[in-house]
Symmetry: C2
């Protein structure tokens, strides 16, 4: 499949590398045409890896992934272009983390709104699926880094889009039964609001190779 | 131990019953002296169960538990009285859930503050420990309702107070190794912010006998 990735940070590049290794063709999109890191990534990735602008990535992808920081996602997706995103599935991996000068980390939006919902409202012709925003980039594409069965959470309005995202996640190594569908895109609030807890757990554990796993009574 | 419980809802009564069954002496505190439910609970609980006002419960307890709804906790604790709570450990089980007329559930405070921190700030001579606010009341006192090992989270400023709370939780059946200390009371934000996710999971699972269990790489 042709996949466009909006954002060239750790998340974008980790997803891009995995997708190319699975045989997908990827355009990694940057804010500017001259992004040395993205160009270098594309050179190393071989014939199935390309670099371009946000608009190039959105144009290229049959499916598009938002891998920008949540606080700049709307801006990035406007540059990608509503017309280029229309009719497509957009996987939103972002979390709207705000880092204050005093080290305090908070979310904006939070509580009664989420970045997932804001994207869906602003791009009504795109099927937004919130996914993969609850764990580290290396773990997203390699669930075996953490032993046993552990969970992923998805949210979105379009059942067909969620089925396509599930299928892609299964290619990453996530068994269908560990992927929990939390409902409509408003559920993105609840997974974005896991971030402060995840950060505290990271401090407690001392690394990022951990994940939620639910124990449920029969 | 003598324990005062502020709040006579499901959480307060569930904790009270368990504590009495463990041999502790409990005063279940209500807003008013004439709370029929609390009086009835005390009658059934036997000689180790008492009913009284918030102030009676705070006065009685060597350790006090806030089991009121987070949105009214500060008001309830003011009625309990700062002088009666001074020098004591206060376990804060509350979550500040706000239920809007349209069915939307949100938190107040949230993100850059928490009810745990607000209580600690207003009662500086009390050692507040956030605990048990991430699971259902029946599961709080009976971890075996859910199979396998699953986690509890505590937060607070005073290591000695946290050790006392751990010891009480162990009496409830929680092994020391499943109790995760997330740090100072500011970490209460992160566990209170789990609530929207927990509510979505409850809808997904169809009941409340489930809990977080962390899978962590060695």
């Amino acid at each position: 499949m042709r996949i466009g990735i909006i954002g060239t940070g750790t998340v974008g590049r980790t997803l891009a590398a995995k997708l190319v290794s699975l045989g997908h063709e990827v355009t990694l999109g940057s804010r500017t045409k001259e992004n040395a890191g993205a160009a270098e990534w594309a050179r190393q990735a071989g014939p199935y890896g390309h670099a371009g602008t946000f608009a190039d990535a959105a144009d290229f992808g049959e499916l598009v992934i938002n891998a920008t920081a949540g606080t700049v996602s709307l801006q990035a997706l406007r540059l990608a272009g509503a017309d280029r995103l229309a009719g497509k599935v957009l996987i939103d991996v972002s979390n709207p983390l705000v880092f204050a000068p005093d080290g305090e980390v908070s979310l904006d939006p939070v509580n009664t709104d989420s970045i997932g919902e804001r994207i869906q409202r602003e791009f009504p012709y795109t099927a937004v699926v919130k996914a993969l925003n609850t764990l580290s980039a290396p773990l997203m594409v390699d669930p075996g880094r953490v032993p046993g069965a552990h969970n992923l959470f998805i949210a979105g309005e379009d059942p067909e889009a969620k089925a396509r995202v599930r299928s892609l996640l299964e290619q990453f190594g996530w068994a269908d039964e560990v992927i929990v569908d939390l409902g409509g895109i408003a559920a993105a609030r609840s997974t974005e609001m896991l971030m402060p807890f995840w950060l505290n757990m990271m401090r407690h554990v001392g690394h990022t190779d951990f994940n939620y796993s639910f124990k449920i009574a029969e």
